[in-house]
């Protein structure tokens, strides 16, 4: 395991004071890889927080070029990068924050052809995709490969998050055994809503890797930012789940 350099010890000085994290936890972050897909309103902030926290390697999967309508929430995309690849903008912004960060940029969304390989390269997966097809692929591969997956999602002023630990918890297909019919590709969103749940997603990944705290196992945290109502709902494995077989 690679040890922290003097520069890293200085950079992470304040978070090394977090009880149960310390140098050992920080070294685990440095030696870990997180897959973030995609790097939109949610994934951008997940990636930024993980970069700030000193994660060693980020795999960023996101197709397409930066569009004007990305800029209200996708904080790794910038106005001067309009029309250019999103993953390049993300990589540039993250490197400004943390030049030590190793980034594997994949200019594709998660699909049947790349899911197994990309999940296989990661220690933790943060699922921030806008389509259930992509989420279900990441969930399937995470369960098959025994990798924890943090699933965060939002709609309008509502947001939710849970952490899937294969063999211990409900998986995404336990929660959603069928293709949801009402979900539409375009959804109402403020960046502050996606960013809020993204920070929780980053924190879940940090806890899983460093090994402290209590991840949201078999719990679905929901937030309604219109009313500031926050709840933790007990969720359960589904008998006969097609993915985790629980």
């Amino acid at each position: 395991m690679k040890q922290l350099t003097a520069e890293e010890l200085a950079t992470y000085e304040w978070q090394l004071d977090v009880p149960d994290h310390g140098v050992e936890g920080q070294e685990r972050l440095k030696n870990s890889t997180v897959l973030v897909s995609r790097c939109g309103g949610l994934g951008s902030v997940v990636a930024y927080e993980l970069a700030a926290a000193g994660i060693g390697t980020l795999i960023l999967a996101h197709a397409g070029n930066v569009k004007p309508s990305d800029l209200n929430r996708q904080l790794l995309m910038t106005h001067d990068w309009l029309g250019k690849p999103r993953v390049e903008s993300a990589e540039r912004r993250l490197k400004e924050l943390n030049p030590r960060l190793n980034i594997i940029s994949v200019p594709e969304n998660i699909n049947e052809a790349n899911a197994e390989k990309l999940v296989g390269m990661a220690d933790v997966i943060v699922d921030a995709a806008p389509l259930f097809e992509e989420r279900f692929l990441m969930n399937r591969e995470a369960v098959k490969q025994g990798k924890p997956l943090v699933d965060c999602a939002m709609y309008e002023l509502e947001a939710q998050i849970t952490t899937v630990v294969p063999g211990e918890t409900a998986c995404l297909s336990c929660l959603y055994p069928e293709q949801p019919i009402a979900w539409k590709r375009r959804f109402p969103v403020f960046g502050a809503v996606s960013g809020t749940i993204a920070c929780l997603g980053a924190m879940e990944a940090i806890k899983l890797i460093s090994g402290f705290g209590e991840p949201l196992k078999n719990k679905l945290l929901t937030m309604n930012m219109r009313t500031m109502d926050i709840q933790t709902i007990g969720i359960k494995q589904r008998k006969g789940c097609a993915v985790c077989g629980s």
């Binding site: 949610l42 999602a153 019919i181 589904r238």
Partner: protein, 92 residues
């Protein structure tokens, strides 16, 4: 007896409000309530909750008093119960 209903995401959108209160008779179970709600809130609501054969779409989560329950669970409603119907969301 009175049941408090809460709705999220697309279900909230088709109902047109985030919460409601309905009065049901003693002994009503969860399946009967949801079937009856289809008549109260209309076809778009019914289409989200049930397929063409009338089978429940299990990707809509049902939460009673902060715990998930399955549509097929044997749940008899009680006065003051709070039931949340959650539409699956995937915004990223």
């Amino acid at each position: 007896m009175d049941i408090t209903l809460k709705f999220t995401a697309q279900i909230k959108d088709v109902v047109g409000k985030a919460s409601d209160t309905v009065t049901v008779s003693n002994g009503t179970n969860l399946q009967e309530l949801l079937t009856n709600l289809g008549m109260t809130y209309g076809d778009r609501f019914k289409t989200i909750l049930f397929d063409e054969q009338g089978a429940y779409r299990h990707s809509n989560l049902i939460v009673i008093d902060q715990s998930q329950v399955n549509y097929d669970d044997d749940v008899t409603l009680a006065d003051g119960m709070e039931i949340t119907l959650m539409s699956p969301i995937s915004g990223g």
